[in-house]
């Protein structure tokens, strides 16, 4: 099976690469649309800033390309947020795959610090990506913006208020958390994605 990681200036490409290798898969890391098209699975990673990254995706012709993908796609963290309609980070229009907007966390209490950083639980899990055994399991988050719970939500997490920990629409999957940094639980989720 060919797995490709969309290459752009995302901070966690190396971590995703390593995590897949630990599962016995050596991914192709490329921004070449022809190469990406041939892959069975595509991962759209992301650590960075929404506005700059969207500009890059438009410049490279990757925005329309990602929207048109037919194989299973997994967006991670910023990757997930960019698959939404619009982000408050840089007030930028995104890919519009998920019908949801990305908002900034507004703390209600002092101990609710932003970014939301650390291990938190998956709740209300659904779909082939997240099986029932993952309910209540801890995964690793680092983010200041979130996607509200919406029709595409396949897992929620509570921080300040419930938000979307994962999304799915058709062949598009996405996680706000970092499966590549979530220990054995994260490995199970990546494994699920690889077997979809």
């Amino acid at each position: 099976m060919d797995v490709a990681i969309i290459k752009y200036n995302a901070g966690n490409i190396r971590s995703v690469d390593y995590a897949l290798r630990r599962l016995g898969v050596t991914p192709l890391i490329t921004a070449d649309k022809k190469m990406l098209s041939k892959a069975d699975k595509i991962i759209f990673p992301g650590v960075g800033e929404a506005f700059t990254t969207m500009r890059f995706l438009h410049e490279e012709g990757l925005a329309d390309f990602i929207r048109g993908l037919r194989q299973p796609v997994l967006g991670i963290c910023l990757g997930m947020q960019l698959m939404c309609r619009h982000s408050e980070e840089g007030d930028v229009d995104c890919l519009g795959i998920f019908d949801a907007d990305v908002r900034r966390f507004v703390p209600q209490k002092h101990e609710e610090k932003v970014p939301h950083m650390g291990w938190n639980t998956l709740n209300n899990v659904k779909s082939p990506l997240l099986d029932a055994s993952l309910e209540g399991q801890f995964v690793y988050f680092v983010h200041s913006y979130y996607v509200p719970v919406c029709e595409h939500t396949i897992a929620t997490t509570g921080y300040i208020h419930p938000f979307s920990a994962a999304l799915q629409k058709d062949n598009f999957f996405a996680t706000q958390f970092h499966p590549e940094k979530s220990g054995s639980v994260g490995e199970r989720i990546l494994q699920h994605f690889l077997t979809l």
Binding site: R22, K113, M117, W119, N123, F138
Partner: protein, 257 residues
């Protein structure tokens, strides 16, 4: 839908000092192939339930630095939890090199005191979440004085104002080591920790003073810390991370199990 409470877990972080690619502090693990191997040790901590790891490069030489970068690559390749690296970071290029090697965060200490703008630069280029500002401070009369070079050189900076400045400049977390408590094993500097936590909008990592499991509970409850770091109690097996987390859970603290 399930009613979710505030469920972000308190973090337990073992710290490994590295010299020339090897763990420095004596390590007293049984059933361990190579206690000096930082990757093996980190993996063991990860299996035991550590939430993050810190690797601190205490090598001074240029050669040692290259060895450390290679080690960071190995850690990233083998360990599936987040890790922070520190030591020998003076400029943006160092940060870039270490993040490229696979580190999730960098910790800066003396370099930030000497050149506070480095915090703005790291936050601006890579985001606040990668920028941990480590502060070594000693309680002297009523004041907490910040120190340089691993606690050898006093500065004119005070803990609370410097931590505030670091947060304002874009630090993502403060790692506060109390030199007063470090090595004494009578607990963390909970009063100072609580004040940092109350005053700052970013997570606080407690460091220095852990000797018993109760000390971790106190750092979270009295000290309001978001994470607690320790070295020797873990390395010497005096406290096992899996047992510590079960203890903390029994004490009503939200930890990842």
């Amino acid at each position: 839908m399930k009613n979710e409470e505030f469920s972000l877990a308190k973090r337990i972080i073992p710290c490994l000092d590295i010299k020339d690619g090897k763990t420095v502090k004596g390590v007293n693990f049984v059933n361990f192939r190579d206690a000096g191997d930082p990757v093996e040790l980190g993996a063991a901590y990860s299996r035991a339930g550590a939430d993050e790891l810190v690797y601190l490069d205490i090598t001074a030489s240029h050669e040692g630095r290259k060895t450390f970068t290679e080690l960071v690559r190995q850690v990233a390749a083998h360990i599936s939890i987040p890790f922070t690296v520190g030591g020998g970071i003076h400029e943006l290029q160092d940060v870039d090199r270490l993040l490229n090697a696979g580190a999730d965060k960098v910790s800066i200490n003396s370099a930030a005191i000497r050149n506070p703008k480095l915090i703005d630069e790291i936050a601006g280029h890579f985001g606040s979440q990668v920028c941990v500002v480590a502060i070594d401070a000693n309680q002297e009369n009523e004041d907490w004085i910040c120190y340089l070079n691993g606690g050898r050189i006093p500065t004119d900076k005070q803990l609370f104002s410097w931590a505030r400045e670091a947060a304002d400049r874009g630090a993502g977390e403060i790692l506060f080591t109390s030199m007063t408590h470090d090595g004494v094993k009578t607990g963390y500097a909970n009063e100072a920790l609580a004040r940092l936590s109350d005053e700052l909008p970013i997570p606080i990592i407690a460091s220095g003073g852990a000797g018993q499991m109760e000390h971790f509970r106190d750092a979270f409850v009295q000290g309001k810390a978001d994470a607690a770091l320790a070295a020797s109690v873990f390395h010497f097996g005096e406290i096992k991370i899996d047992e510590l987390k079960l203890y903390l859970q029994r004490e009503g603290i939200n930890v990842r199990l």
